[in-house]
């Protein structure tokens, strides 16, 4: 057990940043759920605090804490322990294996899409503890992993492997192809490697063993590429957070440190090549007011907001950063009926803050954030890379 929790001086800065504490009167907040409760959890006593599962693992408490305590890690350990001792429940078990659901969903995409839209099935979902306030993401048969795996010719100096994760692969493969296209257009050789789920859904649903299994598999694949001179690129910030923060940490992946050091956010990578003078993209004007919702897991990586830096280079574009609110969906969190109330309240709060600035368009790096905030704002949404491509393609 790490002893950082002893550094907590109970200042409540973490509590001020906790989205769940804001809306749920039965959740004591990260200070009590984390460092305070850890003192009582030591030893062999079974944890009795079912409310630990109310934490959505947004990690805002970790970012806020000036004393180096990471309350979310302490809470996550308690969540895993609680699940191991009390069982996970059906919905959490299903979502932990999100990777397999995605495989099935994309293989039988028309059936899966009909099932998730069917009214009778929705009733069944609710009985199973799965929330239906939003439409489920659509599945696609022609996934990213089932399409052409190489882009850009062999002679190129920079070689990358693209870690797409589950969402881009099964639910937004066209966006994934557009991202690899962007990298290729910038003169980078891109490969889509064989990969499995990053492990976040399993970890978030209390299945550390399964999460570690995914991490081990990805770890050995990615380390192999890194050894051959590839960099690893992600776009999904929750996958990114797993690869850079959790593979060398709680998921203990083989070569975790190497993977963390050689893995880049797609925008971070483009910026790095620009600063090194290797590329010089010429951004054409886009006259738009853009709201940029920062995914919690981009915040928690501490790399700043690289997409914002790139987008500010586009003439005519006004960018408003929204990093004070969690969208509330938090991956599978909001898809569970027992957290639906929290998720919808937080979605409404985040949505209202965005609408107050009267944007033309909402962007976010995270597919789940986009889905949730589209639902609550009715704005059209985009990934930041789509906006970059739009600007680059506008050049005559």
């Amino acid at each position: 057990m790490k002893t950082e929790f002893e550094h907590c001086i109970r200042c409540t800065l973490c509590v001020e940043n906790c989205p769940v504490f804001r809306v749920d009167k039965d959740y004591p907040g990260p200070k009590q759920a984390g460092p305070d409760a850890v003192r009582f959890r030591a030893g062999n006593e079974a944890p009795v605090d079912e409310w630990v599962h109310k934490c959505a693992q947004c990690k805002r408490c970790d970012v806020a804490c000036p004393y180096g305590v990471n309350p979310s890690e302490l809470i996550q350990a308690a969540q895993v322990r609680y699940s191991e001792e009390h069982g996970k429940g059906l919905a959490a078990t299903l979502f932990a294996g999100n990777y397999y659901l995605g495989l099935l969903g994309s293989l039988f995409a028309p059936v899966a899409n009909a099932v998730t839209k069917n009214k009778g099935m929705k009733k069944l979902f609710r009985m199973l503890g799965i929330s239906t306030y939003m439409t489920f993401p659509r599945f696609h048969f022609r996934t990213l992993s089932r399409s052409w795996r190489w882009k850009g010719d062999v002679k190129r100096k920079r070689k990358v492997v693209f870690f797409h994760g589950c969402y881009l692969d099964n639910n937004a493969p066209d966006l994934g192809r557009s991202m690899t296209g962007l990298l290729a257009d910038l003169g980078i050789r891109v490969k889509v490697p064989r990969q499995v789920c990053c492990g976040v859904p399993a970890l978030a649903n209390g299945d550390l063993k399964q999460a570690k299994g995914f991490a081990a598999k990805n770890g050995s694949i990615l380390a192999g590429y890194i050894d051959r001179g590839y960099d690893v690129i992600y776009s999904c910030t929750s996958c990114g957070n797993a690869l850079t923060q959790e593979y060398p940490g709680v998921l203990d992946a083989p070569e975790g440190k190497k993977i963390s050091e050689n893995t880049y956010d797609i925008h971070e990578y483009i910026l790095m090549l620009m600063e090194a003078g290797e590329i010089n993209p010429d951004f054409a004007p886009l006259n738009k007011r853009v709201a940029y919702h920062i995914p919690c897991h981009l915040r928690s990586m501490g790399i700043g907001y690289p997409a914002a830096k790139l987008l500010r280079m586009i003439p005519g574009l006004t960018l408003h950063i929204h990093d004070d609110n969690c969208c509330g969906l938090s991956g599978s969190y909001g898809f569970k009926t027992k957290f639906e109330d929290n998720a919808t309240q937080l979605g409404r709060i985040a949505g209202e803050a965005i609408l107050e600035r009267d944007p033309d368009l909402l962007i976010s790096d995270c597919g789940a954030c986009r889905m949730q905030l589209k639902h609550f704002t009715k704005l059209s949404t985009m990934d930041p890379t789509e906006l970059l491509r739009l600007s680059l393609s506008n050049r005559p």
Binding site: C11, V15, E16, T263, S300, G302, G304, Y305, H320
Partner: protein, 397 residues
Amino acid sequence: MKTENYDTVIVGGGISGLMAAIDLTRKGKRVAVVSKGDPVCCLSTGCIDILKGVDSPMESICDLPENHPYHLVGTGGIDRAAGLFLSVMEEAGLSYVGNTAQNRYILSPGGTRKQTALVPESMAHGDMEENETLNVITFKGMKDFFPGYVTAKFKNAEVYEFDPGIGSTLGIATKFDDPVFREAFVSWFKSQGISGGKIAMPAVLGTKPRVFGELARELDRKIFEIPTLPPSIPGLRMFKALKTCLQDSGVDLYWGRAVKSVEKDDDAIEAVTLAGMGRSTRIEGRSFILATGSFVSGGLYARQDGVVKESVFDLPAHVPGNRESWFGHNFFETGHGIEKAGIRVNKWFQPEDTGIPNLFVCGSILAFSETMKYGCGHGMAIATGVAAAEKCEEYLA
């Protein structure tokens, strides 16, 4: 390793560092702010104390000991900084009242009168006389506010309780953001038949700046907020206003990571590297501002052997005598010796005896500031933040 290049890198995301960043950004500089976490000002009342125990801060600054950092700023500089602060708050829709020439009072959660200078509009009516009639509205299940302390100090005081459905300051403030909840509250309020006098409530009237104004209009009474124990909503509102102002002007914020190492080229600081799980982020700057705060914020730390260290650049820190002389006998007395500890600077806010030309220091880390004794925490933060930024700008030019 990734490199970022800026005109000025500010280490410390508290009120002093953020004000310095705003000042430099408005002068067209490319600025980054690095902070290992959220600042202590989020826990504050949101009021700006400039100098306590006096009628006019501006007239009494000259009576401070001659090594007090306020003398480096001067009254003109303090006024400039306060003006910048007020304009930023105004733009964010978070109006303030008061000025630097005349102290005023707000009502504290202990029922006492707290002296301060710049006050959020929501506390403006908190300047209560003992014989005035006071109606306190409290919230069911709220653990961090004790109306009895307040009403005990007034002859004519009544307490009313509203049930908001959640007990935390943050939870109730979030509810007040919602117009539907506000409507329900207003109709409850009107049904209570509350007689004359002012209406006081704990500081939970919305997380957003404009909520208070709307509620005051809907209730059509003299209402005001009383600061609460942390989490403190007025402190949070102020911090968010400063942060949004910076983000709208394109300043890069690196949050949640501490500075791991510092690179120097001869005497000048060249770059700082941020600690992280994986690849380090190296941030290059032509100049640096240190605004990491004092002991509570971790800018300074004291060792058992009586040595005081500065956390980021390992600057020599002023130590007020041996360890025995650091503390008075009564915890709550002000003027403990240790309050004088900090970084001594020259008139350009550069750390003395270091020869570092491109580092400027501001905020409560400055030696001799004694912010508790003089009641000048936020005032010092703002004044020295802007003053250090002005010196930094001269250096860059």
